[in-house]
Symmetry: C2
Subunit: 471 residues, 2 copies
């Protein structure tokens, strides 16, 4: 819908999780913060109304299916901090929010590793029906060792292997979502008393390495059929997977160059799968602290930093050693060496910095490129730079305070962005989530997406090619 | 809450399913019937409001996870009839209904056979939180061959073996729901910044024949912890299972004697598990066709009979032969013999009746003891007999027309039952579903229930005894 002269628009999403402390640990006890109400249905309906009225395009729910019990050898820190535990099933809060909204999009994380694809295919189709096409799925393969042990395994399946399994999982889902029912299958003919034309429905007879699923799909085609496919990845295996499957990638980068390199790699992976560069959108997690004055915004940010919990952040990182127990002047790599532990997750903490620097970094939060503290004008200027210079398509707003972060953004930033023509305007007809992202009329996956091969029941028994890895 | 002089009260439940044609096949195309709207969220929120305002205690959602594809060798009849296919996930419509109600209870069927217990424990706890303790679960082990083939199996696991597996499944769930978190685990202490006291949370370390689940439960204790446990059964294995687990049994009987014999067997099974006779409530499926006059009611019933679909009923029964293809004068058993098929499901059709009688029976619906057609007075008289003579505790209202059946009952029967003191009155505080059934203050399972053994983390590693079979 964007003409060459229109400014690029921002997909505005709130980042949520059905728990007390999602990513901004230590802040839930701040005055007025509602995070402890995550188990009340009213928390979710109130939030949904704030977002719908406030001009947000979507709300996205993260998920884990286990405890953070690596740090200090147990789940104690995570429990004390409310760090993603307890954590409700995100799929179940969506219908409550859908009941009080018409436009807001919904995303939720679900892992391909532990639950049967037939059941998930049905849940996703149900949600896409109930939301009238506003459902998106963040594909993950899980990463917590405790999660594996909640589902009968001794430990995690190796990373790249999880993506191979996920690729078959998606294959089953596509057969059910795209291949099992034709668009004209449901005829709802009251005269002839025929609800579905059976000649337009078929078994999928999937027989794969991990799964055997006969079908037919138990749900008729929903507005989007396949929900919008989100993914967050950085690894080569994950990128190859995204090249075939993902429509929206949660990505990051601490500099313009870093983000653009990530995006270019992802687009190349998409091209290797016969897709167009614009078939993948990029959403970054953004920290936005806005105030009526610069001072007000900075006071707020200072309050958040002062209350940030280092323990919470360290437990969240699942560090196998307790950095707080080492002298601040030694390097992180020296701390690991002293503890006799191999440092794996280098992405979080460079081994060459000191323990003191690491704890400082953990304490102060990650102020990268996509972080801004200021007045509505300062914030809107930053967002315009992110859109025009970096080339992002949307933000996943990091919540420091619920509902303060969303309310501040809605009240102060949305009007400013709207004045600048940077937000999507709503028409009379509520759009499907995929239409909001890829333009009106595009509620379904494009024909060039891998999943389209199964439409009309084609290729159901064809072997599928290996994923093309782009290096 | 019932004093000796108060009349016994009726637990009033609507029987639903997120599909076009649940049990009254052929009726969905009747004028004004909304069944084709089962995939719209508004169908569920409108229905929930009708029930809440109309004095219902609950709505119960049946479920299947496969196609009825035995009759005539394929799913064609079921698809044409809208017979439980398509069929949405029932757990996902509950939060939408919960968002618009405060008192209405919710029940849903979920099978113990195909999905991991950790994930279901979490879904149930989430629903119990979101509904503020209004969730009940109908435990089933599944019966459709197609369902087995949607979850990687070649065919159904044998009936009694499914109950053995279900018993371990429940064991895992109880450890998570009752044993993993203490009541005082969540302290929500904003001053000390402690959400959960970790000393009150524990791993369950379940290692069983089928499942290994380490825990801890990912959801803190919900109002009821364990949802109200429903079950429908008749078999010895099922009865033994119910004796240990079930709190409400969906039962039936075509005569007073038959129902009472069923109930007595079930109570004996409960006693064999150290439970009290009143620990199990009995809900029967009831057909109620009410009109302002007897004639109006009978006209309505005639309309339903005239439109009843024999094909739909036969497909639903999963008959392996097509009775409509045999001469009406031969017996059912002769028809099976001619087809060279062994007749298994004798409970539905006695082998000695003729094909014509069988088709008549199928066509006219099952008019047993719990079926009434008449004025509000006639209906209320019948319900009082069911309560006082048969000894039922509630009804699961069979829907012939949506929302007509519920609206008629609410408008015509509820005021009459209320006048007679036969319905539960609501107080200011919405009750948990278990309180509605077992009295105020009883939101949790009683101490004598099997699940209570795990409270406070006791017995988590104790072996569990075999189920006591009562013959």
């Amino acid at each position: 819908m964007t003409t060459p002269h229109e400014p690029k628009k921002l997909f505005l999403n709130l980042f949520e999780m059905a728990c007390v402390s999602h990513i901004t640990h230590g802040l839930w006890p701040l005055p007025g913060n509602n995070r402890h109400r995550f188990d009340e249905i009213e928390y979710w309906t109130e939030l949904a109304e704030i977002l719908e009225d406030g001009g947000f395009d979507g709300v996205f729910l993260a998920d884990v299916i286990g405890a953070y019990d690596v740090f200090r050898g147990g789940p104690e820190t995570a429990l004390r901090e409310g760090l993603q535990s307890p954590n409700l099933d995100p799929l179940l809060v969506i219908p409550a929010m859908a009941a009080v909204t018409k436009h807001l999009g919904f995303g939720a994380t679900f892992s391909t590793t532990y639950e049967p694809p037939f059941a998930f295919a049905r849940r996703a189709s149900t949600l896409d029906h109930l939301t009238k096409g506003r459902f998106g799925w963040n594909i993950v393969t899980s990463y917590l060792p405790n999660a594996a042990r909640n589902f009968g395994l001794d430990g995690e399946i190796p990373h790249d292997r999880r993506y191979e399994l996920a690729d078959e999982y998606l294959d089953v889902l596509y057969k059910l979502w795209e291949g099992s029912w034709d668009d004209d299958a449901v005829i709802n003919d009251r005269e002839r008393k025929v609800f579905t034309d059976p000649s337009r429905v078929r078994y999928i007879d999937h027989v794969g390495e991990q799964h055997r699923v006969v079908g037919p799909h138990i749900v008729h085609p929903s507005p989007q059929r396949t929900p919008v496919l989100f993914q967050a990845t950085g690894s080569p295996a994950g990128t190859a997977f995204a090249g075939r499957h993902a429509e929206v990638v949660f990505t990051g980068g601490r500099t313009v160059d870093e983000f653009q390199k990530n995006a270019a790699t992802m687009r190349a992976a998409a091209a290797a799968n016969g897709r167009q560069p614009d078939d993948i959108k990029f959403i970054v997690m953004a920290g936005v602290i806005v105030g009526r004055t610069q001072e007000e915004a900075e006071d707020k940010w200072r309050l958040y930093q002062q209350n940030a919990s280092v323990d919470g952040a360290l437990a969240h990182m699942s560090l196998p050693i307790d950095l707080t127990a080492f002298p601040p002047e030694i390097t992180v790599s020296e701390a690991f060496a002293r503890a006799g532990v191999v440092q794996e997750r280098t992405s979080f903490l460079p081994p060459s910095i000191t323990v003191g620097q690491a704890l400082d970094f953990v304490h102060n939060g990650r102020e990268g490129r996509f972080h801004v503290v200021g007045t509505p004008k300062v914030v809107a200027d930053a967002i315009e730079r992110w859109l025009d210079e970096d080339g992002i398509d949307g933000i996943n707003l990091r919540q420091y305070h619920s509902f303060g972060t969303a309310q501040d953004f809605a009240e102060l930033v949305v009007p400013e962005l709207r004045r600048r023509g940077r937000l999507f305007e709503r028409g009379d007809r509520p759009l499907a989530l995929r239409e909001r992202l890829f333009g009106e009329g595009n509620a379904r996956l494009p024909d060039r997406h891998f999943a389209a091969r199964y439409r009309g029941g084609a290729n159901l028994d064809a072997p599928r090619e290996s994923l093309a890895v782009v290096s």
